[in-house]
């Protein structure tokens, strides 16, 4: 049987982002997969030497344009911890609102791309049509569709008025109904199941051993979610991680599907808890010391290590992103797959290369 090499990427239509996989296939079955990254590396962490700790908020937001808000949230939380700032309750709840809206649009986006990876174009279109409503919510409340720039050290820069809160709630009712109408397609459609059920199975033990994160981990049956750490406003909000056990592409998409509904619920809970407190606390002094903070991004656990030495420039900013954690499990499940399933499985980890390489 003859072996063929298929260079998959870095410019490849299935993946909007550049990563390269040298796939060796035999009879269109993968026998070897060698990943290469570095095509979107920018050297972002080193910008900390040139941008002060406040300016870095805008920089770390651009680690990734999909869950940008959650990056700045994590960064700001780290600084707040380092500098001992108490964030007002309204700001913490607003952070939940926007971070969950980000998760919602990220999951819809991902579900769409996932659908497209197995050639279900109309599902992609439908999901992205729904997503536009969420993008409108972002734009109307913060001024930008994608990179909302609401976080500052000590709180947030934007606020919601009553009319906006009502509008968000109304829109979310519509969005929820539209998402639910696609549930049977994503979870039960026969052709979809043909492509997802039993494809790219990652066992619970392997997920744990290889250090998977986020929906990839929860799809394999491990109930771990950084929101359990009760950062931002999660201390007051009822939250239970969503878990599936089959560990295949179906489980990962189902986790994300259910999480998008859960996010809507979390936004509602947070909106109900908005009180009249300040938007941002006053911040005094310069960051000093080191701190590690973690948040749950749509793709999983994200970790920031920050070190300040009393200067306005941070001495070190290190970011470990969820996709980075999910690449070893991916490399483990690729061999043995049908070549046609490679994009499905690669997308099932929700690869975000720009955060992996920063």
């Amino acid at each position: 049987m003859a072996r063929a090499t298929i260079p998959f990427g870095p410019q490849h239509p299935v993946l909007p982002e550049p990563i390269h996989l040298s796939l060796v296939v035999e009879d269109e079955k993968v026998v070897e997969a060698l990943p290469t990254i570095g095509y979107v590396h920018r050297g972002l962490e080193m910008l900390a030497a040139k941008r002060d700790y406040n300016q870095m908020i805008q920089v770390v937001e651009r680690v990734c344009g999909i869950c940008s808000m959650i990056h700045s949230l994590c960064y700001c939380q780290g600084l707040e911890e380092m500098m001992g700032v108490e964030v007002p309750r309204r700001a913490r709840m607003l952070r939940v609102v926007w971070s969950e809206l980000h998760r919602l649009h990220s999951h819809l986006l991902w579900l769409g791309l996932f659908a497209d990876s197995f050639g279900f174009e109309s599902l992609f279109m439908q999901l992205w049509k729904i997503r536009e409503k969420v993008m409108d919510l972002n734009e109307a409340t913060t001024g930008n569709r994608v990179i909302v720039s609401v976080n500052v050290v000590g709180g947030v820069r934007a606020d919601l008025d009553e009319a906006q809160i009502r509008w968000i709630k109304d829109t979310l009712v519509e969005v929820e109904a539209s998402i639910r109408s696609l549930q049977s397609t994503i979870m039960n459609d026969s052709t979809v199941c043909k492509r997802t059920v039993g494809v790219g199975v990652l066992t619970k033990q392997a997920a744990y051993d290889l250090g998977a994160a986020g929906p990839m981990l929860r799809g394999s049956g491990v109930a771990q979610d950084m929101r359990q750490l009760k950062y931002a406003g999660f201390d007051e909000i009822a939250f239970e991680p969503i878990v599936e056990t089959s560990g295949d592409c179906w489980a990962r998409s189902t986790v994300r599907f259910r999480e998008s509904l859960q996010s809507i619920d979390l936004v509602r809970q947070a909106l109900d808890r908005l009180d009249g407190s300040e938007l941002a606390a006053k911040v005094k002094g310069k960051p000093e010391g080191e701190v590690i903070t973690r948040v749950e991004q749509p793709r999983g656990e994200c970790l920031y290590y920050l070190k300040g030495n009393g200067d306005k420039f941070l001495q070190r900013v290190r970011i470990r992103t969820p996709t980075f954690a999910n690449i070893p499990p991916l490399a483990a499940i690729l061999p043995g797959l049908d070549f046609a399933d490679v994009p499905v499985v690669v997308l099932s980890i929700d690869p975000c290369i720009s955060c992996t390489e920063r």
Binding site: P10, Q11, H12, P13, V14, P16, E17, P18, G38, Y39, V40, H41, R42, G43, L44, M46, L47, K50, Q58, V59, R62, V63, C64, G65, I66, S68, L109, G112, F124, M125, Q126, W128, K129, R131, E132, M135, N144, R145, V146, I147, C352, S354
Partner: protein, 146 residues
């Protein structure tokens, strides 16, 4: 008549190819959003193709770093002429917020000629549509002259 039909069709059928040349995904996703129902650039005859040999318009997002510059050049060279290049976002225009980062070259025009720049971070889908229209108008002028 046939000749003018061919000229017209070059403006009526821009197939675009998107390359993420070191972006943060913000602009990529906005570019992709252009294809979806609310924006639907297929109205202009635009198809997103994944293959430079079929593309007329190269849409580049991102900062351009030392590693992907050669890939960008490769893809550009593989496109048939006449071709348009659209640089998307602050990153594509100049390197944006990252232009002083160590691995960033800073802007698509450092590697290949750019026809239209779309500022913004991320560029809005409307702005991207504007860019295509502007680019095609530019192409139309070139064709008329030639």
């Amino acid at each position: 008549m046939f000749g003018s039909f061919l000229k017209k069709s070059q403006i009526k059928s821009p197939w675009l190819m998107h390359f993420d040349c070191g972006s943060c995904n913000g602009c990529d996703i906005e570019t992709l959003a252009c294809l979806t129902p609310v924006y639907d650039v297929e109205r202009f005859g635009i198809i997103n193709v994944g293959n430079p040999r079929h593309a007329d318009v190269l849409v580049v997002t991102g900062t351009v770093n030392r590693r992907n510059a050669v890939i960008l050049k490769n893809i550009y060279d593989q496109m048939p002429t006449p071709k348009l290049v659209i640089a998307i976002g602050a990153c594509g225009c100049s390197g944006g917020v990252f232009r002083e980062a160590p691995n960033v070259l800073g802007g698509v025009d450092k590697v290949i000629p750019v026809d239209v720049y779309v500022p913004g971070c991320p560029a809005k889908p409307e702005a991207i549509m504007d860019a295509v229209v502007t680019g095609l108008a530019k192409l139309g002028k070139i064709l008329e002259v030639a």
